[in-house]
Symmetry: C2
C-alpha cells in the first residue's frame, strides 16, 4: 500500500516542486496533497476530492479531510500529559510513554465523518451563511493505533454517578462564545466499548500535527466532532458536555429554530449515508457500460447491508456489489456497471443498513439552519455520448 502511494505521488508533480512549478499554488499545507478542496486556510478546513476517496476503502493520510475549529496548537510533546479527572476514584496524569507501556496497543480501522458532510446539497436548497459548503469528502477511513479509552478509564475508576466522558482538546476556537477549547462528550457506555481509542498513529505512521498529535480520540460510529484532537483532558461526568461544540452547535435544529444553548437534538451517532464517487455529477461519459462507484456508511453499531442504484428515478433498482469489508467500523465502497444509452441520465442511489433502514428521499426536507446530516439519497446527472 505504501509503495503504491509513493508511486502515485510521483505522478503529482506539484508535491515535489513547491514554489517552482505552475502547480505550486495548488499545494496545500499540513502535508496534504494538492487536490484537496480547501474550504478555509485558518483554521484549516479541507475535504478529500472524489478521486482521493475513490482510490480505495482506506483513505491516504495525505488525502484525508481536516475539520478544524481553531489553529493547530503547538504542543511540547515531552511536557504533554493526559489529565484524567472528574467522577473517578483517582486522577491520572499520563505521558505518551506511560500510555504505550501500561496499556495494550490496539488497532481499529474506522471511518470518520463530519456532521457537515454533503452540506453543499442543503446549501443548494437554501443558503446557510457562515457554514462551509462541504461536499461528500468530509469523510474518510483510516487505521488508527493507540490504546482503548476503556482501559484508561478502568484505571481511573469511574464513580457510580459517572455517565458521560468529556474530551477536551488543546485547540482554542475563537468562533465559540466564549472562545474555548474544542471539546465534547460521549456516553460512558460507548466510552467503555473496545473500539474507542486514544490514538497516536494513523495508517501506520505517527499522527500528524493537523490530525491531533500527540494524541487524539477516535470514536467509531460517532460524528467526527467527538473524535477530539490534541486531547489533553478527560473529564468523567454525570451530564453531557456543556461546552459550545456540543451544547450549542453540532445539534440538529428544526427548520425554524435558532442555534442556542440546548436547542435542538444533540448529534452523536452517525446516520446512514452514501454518495457517488464516480462518475462525477455533470460528467460526460462514453455511452455503453459505465462503472458507477461510491461509498456507504452506517454509524453506531450498524453496518451497510445493501446499496441499490436506479436509472429510472426509483421505479426499479439494481444491487451494487459491496467491495472490501474492513470491519464493523468502516464504510463500504460499492460498484455497479450500468448500461447508458446516449443522452442524459440521472443516477439515484440508496443504501440500506443492517436494521433494513434506508435513506430518506427528499434532500430539501432535510434542510436545517446549521446544515448537518444531509443523508438524502444521492442523485447525479451524467451525459452519455
Amino acid at each position: 500500500m505504501r509503495i503504491e502511494r509513493l508511486e502515485r505521488r510521483t505522478r503529482l508533480p506539484g508535491l515535489f516542486h513547491i514554489g517552482a512549478s505552475p502547480y505550486a499554488r495548488r499545494v496545500t499545507r499540513h502535508g496534504k496533497r494538492a487536490d484537496l478542496i480547501v474550504h478555509e486556510q485558518e483554521p484549516f478546513n479541507a475535504e478529500t476530492g472524489l478521486a482521493g476517496l475513490a482510490e480505495g476503502p482506506v483513505t491516504a493520510t495525505d488525502a484525508f479531510y481536516v475539520r478544524d475549529h481553531g489553529p493547530v496548537p503547538e504542543i511540547d510533546h515531552a511536557a504533554w500529559r493526559l489529565h484524567v479527572h472528574g467522577l473517578v476514584e483517582r486522577e491520572l496524569d499520563l505521558s505518551i510513554a506511560t500510555l504505550r507501556e501500561a496499556f495494550r496497543e490496539r488497532e481499529v480501522t474506522a471511518t470518520l465523518q463530519c456532521a457537515g458532510n454533503r452540506r453543499a446539497g442543503l446549501i443548494a436548497v437554501r443558503d446557510i451563511p457562515g457554514e462551509a459548503p462541504w461536499g461528500p469528502g468530509a469523510t474518510g477511513t483510516a487505521t488508527w493505533t493507540g490504546v482503548a479509552l476503556a482501559e484508561v478509564l478502568a484505571v481511573a475508576g469511574p464513580l457510580p454517578e459517572a455517565a458521560h466522558v468529556g474530551l477536551d482538546g488543546a485547540d482554542v476556537c475563537a468562533e465559540a462564545t466564549p472562545a474555548q477549547r474544542f471539546g465534547g462528550s460521549i456516553p460512558l457506555d460507548k466510552a467503555c466499548r473496545p473500539e474507542v481509542l486514544l490514538a497516536w498513529a494513523m495508517n501506520g505512521e505517527p499522527l500528524q500535527p493537523v490530525h491531533g498529535a500527540p494524541l487524539r480520540v477516535v470514536v467509531p460510529g460517532y460524528i467526527g466532532a467527538r473524535s477530539v484532537k490534541w486531547l489533553e483532558r478527560i473529564e468523567v461526568r454525570s451530564k453531557p458536555w456543556e461546552g459550545y461544540f456540543q451544547h450549542v452547535v453540532y445539534r440538529l435544529l428544526a427548520e425554524d429554530e435558532t442555534p442556542g444553548p440546548g436547542v435542538g437534538m444533540p448529534l452523536g451517532l452517525i446516520a446512514l449515508n452514501s454518495d457517488v464517487l464516480s462518475p462525477a455529477d455533470g460528467e460526460t461519459v462514453a455511452a455503453g457500460p459505465v462503472e458507477v462507484r461510491g461509498y456507504a456508511f452506517a454509524g453506531g453499531e450498524r453496518h451497510v447491508a445493501r446499496v441499490d442504484v436506479s436509472l429510472d428515478g426509483g421505479v426499479t433498482w439494481a444491487q451494487a456489489d459491496l467491495l472490501e469489508d474492513l470491519g464493523r467500523w468502516a464504510w463500504r465502497h460499492w460498484r455497479i456497471t450500468v448500461e447508458l444509452a446516449p443522452g442524459e441520465h440521472e443516477i439515484l442511489v440508496r443504501a440500506w443498513d443492517s436494521s433494513a433502514a434506508t435513506q430518506p428521499e427528499d434532500e430539501a426536507a432535510l434542510w436545517n439552519p446549521k446544515g448537518y446530516v444531509n443523508n438524502a439519497r444521492p442523485r447525479i446527472r451524467v451525459r452519455a455520448a
Copy 2:
C-alpha cells in the same frame, strides 16, 4: 393500572358472557381482549387495535399482540429444563427454580415489534400472498422480568470461537420446510448486553402460555422473531442460525428476489418507525383543535429524538410532544394538537432517531416479497366537519 383495566373490562360485556351474548364471537382466545384484530386462529396471530395501543406506553397484557408460527406447545413446567450447549466450556440444564435462585432478577421495559408490523401498507401497494395484513398493532411495550442471558452464558463459558447465540423454542411450525421448531440467533456481543433477558414474567404477572411460558427470550431493539418463546435450548455457535426462521424468512428481499436459503438481508435490529394511533385513518373529527397521537420507536441502541407532523404534505412541520420516557428500550408515545378547518386533511408524520436519521417517504418503494420493515412515514386522511 390493574384496577383501571378491570373497570375497562366491565364495559366489554363479551368477555363475561361467552356464548351468551351477541358479542361472544368477538372474544378471542388466550386471555386476550375482544378487540384484538385476529389474523389467524391456529397458529394464533392477533394484533392490538389502535385503542389498545393508545391507552398508554405500557401495553396491557390482555391487549398485547401475538405472532405465532406454530400452535402454543404444551409444556410440563416441572420437567422443563433450559439446555445450554454448543461452544461452551460446560453444558447446563437449568430449571426455572435454579434460574431464579442462581441469578439476579432483572426487569426491563422493552418494546417488541414484529418485522411484519404495518405490512398492510405494503399490501395496499401490491398483494403479498400468504402473509397476514398486519396493521400498526404488531408491536407493544411491556415490563419483562427474568435474568440476564449474559449471566447464564458466563456460567456456561463461551469458547473463543463463539460468535452467535442460538435460541430454540418448543413450538413446532408446519409452515417451515422441513417442519421445525421456531428458532433464531443473535450476535454474542448483543447476547452479553444486560438488557437481553430470559423472562418468566410480563407486566408483573407470570408469563402466559401464549407469550412463551415458562420462559422466553426478550431481545430489546431486535425484531420480535428473536425474542424466542417457549425457550428450551440455547446453542452457542460460531455462525448465525441456519434454521428456516432466520436463514430463509425474516430476511429483507429486493423486489425481484425469491425467498430461499441465504437470499436477502437478515433482519435483526429494528428500523426507526412510527404510526398514528388517533385519529384513525378515514375518521371524521370535529373541526377546530384536534389531538393527534401516535408512537415512534428506534431499534438497536438508538432512541427517538423528535417526531414531526405536517398538514401540508411535508412543506412545513411542527414538533410533537414526546410523552413518558420508559427508558432506552421502549418506544415513545407522542401527541400534538393541530388546528383543522372543515374539509379533508392529510396528516403526515416523520420520526427522527438519535443519529438524526428520519424515515423514508415512499412506501411503495419499500415493497418487498415478504412484506417486512414498512417504516415509511405514516400518512392518514381525516375529514373535519
